[in-house]
């Protein structure tokens, strides 16, 4: 098979993995070396596809042949998709050729599972090893690992990669039993725990000034959860994410709204979830990681799913009106972070500026704060919200988008402003 056909099949096979991160790697570059490559700054999106997703890495599978039968996956063994297999050298050459032309800033390599976990892992590792040791490649490498692979192989993957990941796929074992019978949540988490130990060890060694430079090891791990492939609620998805961030110290949990695939399975819903659900999960995830929210605050037992019409911070504020208004000239950081319409960066600007000046609405306007959003929730030097504003029943209605834009159905191209916000960065 020609290289172009292989690339077509094996990139198509890889596109359902949402991860595109290429940031957070240890600082290294090609100066004084024999090859190309650098990492360590903010990640760079070298292109964008019309699905709004960033293209920063060559994201391919080594092969899309697979022993597993995960029903949401186009590559499962029951699918009739065309199969292909790269040789490791083909992936090495493609990576270098694309990299030198500045199309990409690294490789994200995954694979269908063939023969056994260890056999597959060895093939994947051989690509990374050749890039690093033969071609002195210092660009970004993300390797997908298999929880059942031997721990020696997982550690070896970590030595060549900047990031490693294992997809947890669904938040519960019951979900996996139904849709991905070969996968096991406990084994996945055990493998993540093992990787976490290695990452922590490496970090501790790096901090010791008197020791020699430790051998490289990946600086982070990430995972992906599918949204809407099973009946899991947002509460259950966010609780799982919270465990992964807390106990396993993941850098990122990616949420991938299940979308139709060319090889549908009998076991899956034909109607995918609205794309905005995935977006709300990213926003909620942001609140957990940067806004000091607790997972229990994001949803309620009566409403276990996030509100599709409102962002989760605004939804929280409307449920907790007694916490407002917050005085931008006095309130502590953790309170300001809760104000709908104030992002982390602007909160820090406010904290800095108010040491020298009393903030008025014009100051906030200059920081491009959305007045419509913040006014009911804040006090400024020249503004106090009317009691009516916070107590009124119409406050929620004020924030709802007009009905016509509420067409969240899949199929019609997204038209609401919410959909246009990049899912990738999950900005609030």
């Amino acid at each position: 098979m020609e290289l172009q056909s292989k690339l077509e099949i094996l990139a198509d096979a890889a596109k359902y993995d949402a991860s595109c991160a290429s940031s957070g790697a240890a600082r290294k570059d090609s100066r004084g070396g024999k090859g190309v490559g650098s990492t360590g700054g903010a990640g760079i999106c070298h292109s964008y596809a019309p699905d709004g997703r960033c293209i920063s890495l060559l994201k391919v599978l080594l092969t899309n042949a697979c022993l597993y039968d995960c029903h949401y996956c186009i590559n499962r063994r029951s699918s009739n998709v065309r199969r292909a297999r790269f040789t490791p050298d083909e992936v090495v050459k493609l990576t270098l050729d694309f990299y030198k032309r500045n199309y990409i800033e690294g490789l994200f390599l995954s694979s269908g599972i063939i023969q056994s976990a260890d056999y597959t892992m060895e093939l994947v590792i051989s690509v990374a090893r050749t890039l690093r040791e033969v071609h002195h490649f210092r660009g970004y490498i993300h390797l997908k690992t298999i929880p059942e692979a031997s721990s020696a192989l997982i550690e070896m993957a970590g030595r060549y990669a900047d990031r490693i990941s294992i997809n947890i796929e669904l938040p519960t074992q019951a979900g996996l039993d139904a849709l991905a019978p070969e996968k096991n949540l406990a084994r996945t988490q055990d493998a993540m725990g093992h990787i976490r130990e290695k990452i922590d060890e490496r970090r501790a060694e790096t901090r010791k000034a008197d020791t020699q430079k430790p051998p490289p090891f990946a600086t982070g791990q990430s995972t992906q959860m599918l949204v809407g492939a099973d009946a899991s609620s947002d509460t259950s998805i966010l609780q799982r994410a919270d465990v992964l961030y807390g106990a396993y110290r993941l850098r990122r949990v990616y949420y991938s709204g299940f979308s139709p695939i060319p090889e549908p399975s009998k076991l899956l819903p034909i109607k995918p979830p609205p794309l905005v659900r995935e977006h709300r999960l990213y926003q909620a995830d942001w609140l957990l990681r940067f806004y000091e929210f607790k997972v229990g605050e994001l949803t309620t037992s009566e409403a276990p799913n996030l509100d599709l019409a409102l962002d989760p911070k605004l939804a929280w504020a409307l449920r907790n009106r007694a916490a407002f208004p917050a005085d931008v000239n006095r309130a502590p950081r953790e309170i300001l972070l809760r104000v709908p319409g104030l992002g982390v960066r602007n909160v820090d600007r406010i904290l800095s500026a108010r040491r020298y000046t009393r903030l008025r609405l014009a100051d906030l306007l200059r920081l491009r704060v959305s007045m419509k959003k913040v006014l009911p929730f804040i006090i400024a030097a020249d503004h106090t919200p009317t009691q009516l504003g916070l107590d009124g029943d119409d406050l929620r209605a004020r924030f709802l988008p007009p009905p016509r834009q509420m067409d969240l159905d899949f199929g019609s191209p997204p038209s609401s402003a919410d959909d246009l916000i990049s899912v990738r960065n999950g900005e609030l």
Binding site: Q4, L58, N102, G139, Q173, L275, S352
Partner: protein, 289 residues
């Protein structure tokens, strides 16, 4: 009112501003203007200026801000930077940099943001084309064409030096060009588009990748355009695919939704799958913890 004509570089502004400040010139007396005739020459070295003991110190952060804002093409930047400098030094507003809500600070920060974004986009959207191999050194040689919005070539160059140390390359732009030969960066005046190569043998494969990684079931055209505005498309080899990919998406999704669902196939005989089944039977479900 005095007119001060300067080359549009941070160094030229800094030297002038230093002199004006020690002379006690107020911002209202000065009309700053880009000397565009000089701009084309762009003498690479900084002019050595005799430092008098009277030059007031400014926070290092201000120099960073000024260097970045200086790359912006807004003609008011020099005057705005001088006003900030005056307020910081003679105006007694030592804390000015900590007041991001200040109107003049805000304006300069907006320029910085635009310049940083332009630099980031240059790092992202430069596309090198292979033109040959140096016979003596064996190093591959690449040339790229890029059209930045602001005067950012010098600010953006070190990234390419670090990333592509092992190859020879040039980035050509209308304002200024930068070249790397493995030893040092060189800067030369801007050139025309026609000086750069038109294609590269790898671009076909790159377009195959771009087409294949796109998911037609998740069309988000505006999200794409927010990050990759149309003005960049003409220099991106993959951009010619954008319109056809969008146009073809609804039919592709329709086809997916109409495809008959595949039944599950039985598991093949495989020792590893057998082992997995045993492990699944033995692994306690600890997921609840």
């Amino acid at each position: 009112m005095r007119t001060v004509l300067i080359k549009p570089t941070f160094e030229a502004w800094r030297d002038q501003a230093r002199t004006l400040l020690t002379q006690g010139a107020t911002p209202d007396e000065i009309l700053w203007s880009d000397d565009l005739a000089e701009a084309a020459l762009f003498a690479a070295e900084e002019i050595a200026v005799a430092k008098t003991g009277l030059v007031p110190r400014v926070p290092a952060a201000f120099l960073d801000i000024a260097r970045t804002a200086a790359a912006h093409t807004d003609p008011h930047r020099w005057a705005a930077l001088y006003r900030l400098l005056r307020r910081l030094t003679r105006g007694g507003e030592r804390h000015l940099l900590s007041i991001p809500t200040d109107r003049e600070m805000r304006q300069v920060q907006e320029w910085c943001k635009a310049v940083r974004r332009d630099i980031h986009k240059m790092h992202a959207f430069v596309r090198f084309r292979l033109v040959g191999t140096d016979e003596a050194t064996g190093r591959e040689q690449f040339i790229a064409w890029f059209e930045p919005e602001h005067r950012i070539v010098r600010l953006a160059a070190s990234f390419f030096q670090k990333r592509f140390a092992g190859m020879d390359w040039s980035i050509l732009t209308p304002h200024e060009c930068v070249h790397w030969d493995g030893a040092a960066l060189h800067f030369t005046p801007g050139v025309l588009r026609s000086a750069a190569p038109d294609e590269d043998a790898l671009e076909g494969l790159w377009r195959t990748y771009y087409r294949s990684i796109f998911n037609p079931a998740r069309l988000k055209v505006k999200a794409m355009q927010a990050e990759m505005p149309k003005k960049y498309w003409k220099n991106l080899p993959e951009a010619e695919l954008i319109r056809p990919l969008i146009a073809g998406s609804p039919a592709r999704v329709e086809e997916m939704l109409e495809t008959e669902e595949r039944p599950a196939k039985p598991a093949p005989k495989n020792a590893y799958l057998e082992k997995l089944r045993q492990m699944n039977a033995e692994t306690p479900d600890t997921s609840a913890k």
